[in-house]
């Protein structure tokens, strides 16, 4: 059979994308469908599984810890986002102009981003330790605290120090995104504003922020999604404690699926998580489209 040139091109193109499509189908589309399917079942890690309809979903509304985890995850997201943004913006402004050695500073601020969150969490757990940690050592040496602080052991401080560690780890990422946005603003706009006698804050609110709306929205969504999905820092730094006050949604899914072996229930929670994320992504698309 002789294929025409166009037909051959079509076939070749399909062959090129086939491996990718196969991968995405097997490791993404099928699991996605399976998540839905599993969520309607009592599906233990081993042993018999049984169809239970919507029971898993009904269970969710009664699961005190699940509701607590939802609340915690959103609270965490709301608390961690502003510092990342404010510091990210300050850093981006500081490294914006190409003054000598500025590349080194950009690199330094970005460095923690390439370290794994798991490893950085270990590092911070150790620095925050009450006996062997450097923070307590410094605070005690300078007489800033009367006795060693149990940073990760108290519900009110645990959240704060985890946020501190996450800001250190991720702010460089936001900085680079915002930097790209800042550098896209033509210098002439600022110059003419200066001629008109505009001060720093006028320029910030009338030029910088409005022109960076899309960049900010993008960085915001990425940061929010990352926070909603967080797991490593809570699993490693507090193991969900104290008083189970730092169990994120993904953490609770992990526990139910792989420690309590209730995979069907875990799947139902995943579906809810998925819905939240789809909503967030939808919001992102909406915010970004509006401008065009």
């Amino acid at each position: 059979m002789n294929l025409s040139w166009t037909q051959r091109r079509k076939l070749t193109g399909l062959l090129f994308v086939m491996p990718t499509v196969a991968f995405v189908t097997v490791f993404f589309i099928i699991p996605l469908i399976m998540t839905v399917y599993m969520s309607f079942h009592d599906w233990p890690l081993f042993g018999e599984r049984a169809y239970t309809g919507l029971e898993n979903y009904q269970e969710l509304s009664k699961d005190r810890q699940y509701l607590k985890s939802l609340d915690f995850t959103f609270r965490y997201t709301a608390l961690v986002t502003p510092p990342i943004f404010i510091l990210g913006f300050i850093l981006a402004s500081l490294v914006r102009h190409n003054i000598p050695y500025i590349g080194i500073f950009r690199t330094i601020f970005f460095l923690p981003v390439v370290i794994g969150l798991g490893v950085s969490s270990l590092l911070w757990t150790w620095m925050l330790d009450d006996r062997i940690g450097i923070f307590n050592k410094i605070l005690l040496d300078f007489h800033l605290v009367p006795k060693a602080q149990l940073f990760l052991g108290r519900p009110n401080t645990a959240m704060n120090v985890i946020i501190l560690s996450v800001v250190w780890k991720t702010v460089g990422f936001t900085m680079i995104l915002l930097l790209a946005g800042l550098q896209a603003i033509p210098d002439e706009l600022y110059e003419s504003a200066e001629v008109d006698g505009a001060g720093y804050f006028r320029k910030l609110f009338y030029i910088t922020l409005p022109l960076m709306r899309r960049t900010i929205a993008l960085a915001l969504i990425l940061s929010v999604i990352g926070s909603v999905l967080s797991f490593d820092q809570f699993y490693i730094m507090t193991r969900g404690g104290p008083r189970n006050s730092t169990i994120s949604i993904v953490f609770w899914i992990f526990n139910n699926s792989f420690t309590y072996f209730k995979m069907g229930y875990g799947a139902a929670m995943s579906i809810v998580l998925l819905a939240i994320l789809v909503a967030l992504t939808g919001l992102q698309l909406y915010v970004l489209r509006e401008k065009e």
Binding site: G47, G153, R239, G241, P242, T259
Partner: protein, 416 residues
């Protein structure tokens, strides 16, 4: 990689079968065994077995906190070990899921079956059949520092027998200095407190679970509340170091070896460590008392079982049976300071004259272990309701809120 191994294995078997007259004795048996990272004499047992038997056992130590997850995953993957030394409280869950070999007929043949520690045998039963036998027994009790007792003017020969007496002793010891404390608990360690705090409730005639293990009795049994208040007092009065509130068990044993802690909940497993590594530590033990007296202990430790799917059930049992023999129990267990799993062997040459070992071993007579398939989710899970309830009640002082929360989450888990 696995499939290539499989092909090689098949090839090897075909070759062996083809060239030799099939003979079970000649075929080398290799078994795998898992144990959690608890300092029983498992490695010594396996070494001794491997040295004197044709069949060989490969021992893998799994971090305690991950044992259930790993075992579950291995079973789900169809690759469980032949032999598993399991924390006894998980046996009902594994047996109920059909993951262990029924060894009732083997157990019947044992002449000493009746003297095996009852708590472990009970936990190894499921629907009237045996699935596991004891391999490491461990009761809980209180250790106390004799030197500190004397310094505080307390009589070390008459240790406390009620909660109030314990509190008085703690206060007296705590008054000895800034760095001296009356007590130690690891309040961020779920399992540690099931082991050492539950017996306070039991010794007073109370429990957190009903007799048939069908429901939680946290709100209905007033003793639970009293016990939480007792521990809350210890915390509020600063009778424990502040770090105890966040200790996840890493200092459960070592805190007491510092010599500045008056009393602490402990288990048999720690005694050899104290006597060998800390010869200067002048300590003795007493039973965990009830509110107004009485005594109780958590029958902890490991049972040994054969996993479903093992190709070497007979040989695995031969090993298990040997671990309970006089030879192994006395020359490996007792010689290393570990309590024998057969109660009649507690009177052995190695333990004679050591009051502490005898008292500790006698704790097993009052030993008790909850029988529930959701033990891990209730008590041992660091995110479970047990630890959360303890922390809210003892550290935050919100006892009413804690028992209400505990009752609700216990019930939810038990109803599945």
């Amino acid at each position: 990689m696995t499939s290539r191994k499989l092909i090689l294995l098949v090839l090897a078997i075909v070759l062996v079968l083809g060239s030799l007259p099939a003979s079970a004795q000649d075929e080398e048996i290799n078994m795998t065994m898992w144990v959690r990272s608890i300092p029983f004499q498992t490695q010594a047992l396996v070494d001794e077995w491997n040295a004197s038997n044709d069949s060989q056992i490969e021992l893998t130590v799994i971090p305690s906190a991950e044992f259930v997850t790993k075992m579950g995953a291995a079973i789900a993957a169809g690759e469980p070990p032949d032999i598993a030394s399991i924390d006894l409280i998980y046996t009902p869950a594994f047996a109920a899921a059909g993951q262990l070999v029924d060894i009732t007929d083997f157990v019947k043949e044992l002449p000493y079956a009746d003297t095996l520690t009852p708590a472990h045998m009970a936990l190894g039963m499921y629907e009237g059949r045996n699935y596991a036998v004891p391999t490491g027994v461990d009761g809980s009790f209180i250790v106390y520092n004799i030197d500190l007792f004397e310094q505080a003017g307390l009589d070390p020969d008459n240790p406390p027998t009620t909660w109030d007496e314990m509190l008085d002793a703690m206060r007296a010891i705590d008054a000895l200095g800034d760095e001296v404390y009356g007590y130690w608990f690891s309040m961020n360690c779920a399992g540690c407190n099931a082991f050492t705090f539950l017996p306070f409730i039991w010794a007073s005639g109370g429990d957190v679970l009903s007799d048939d293990y069908a429901e939680a009795t946290i709100t209905s049994d007033p003793i639970v509340r009293d016990a939480l208040a007792f521990y809350n007092t210890i915390w509020e009065e600063g009778l424990v170091p502040e770090g105890a509130s966040i200790d996840n068990g890493s200092n459960f044993v070592s805190a007491f070896t510092g010599g500045n802690i008056g009393m602490a909940g402990m288990g048999n497993f720690a005694i050899p460590l104290f006597t060998n590594d800390h010869p200067d530590l002048n300590f003795d033990v007493f039973h965990i008392p009830g509110k107004e007296g009485g005594a109780a202990s958590f029958g902890g430790g490991d049972v040994i079982a054969i996993a479903s799917g093992s190709q070497h059930v007979e040989e695995a049992w031969r090993f298990i049976e040997w671990t309970m023999s006089d030879e192994a129990q006395i020359e490996i267990y007792a010689a290393n300071g570990q309590i024998p799993v057969r109660l009649e062997l507690v009177n052995n040459p190695y333990f004679e004259g050591d009051e502490r070992q005898m008292t500790a071993a006698s704790a097993l007579a009052v030993g008790f272990t909850p029988y529930t398939t959701v033990y891990n989710d209730l008590f041992n899970d660091p995110n479970g309701p047990w630890l959360e309830m303890l922390q809210v009640a003892i550290l935050d002082g919100d006892i009413d809120g804690a028992i209400e929360l505990g009752q609700e989450r216990f019930t939810q888990i038990m109803e599945g």
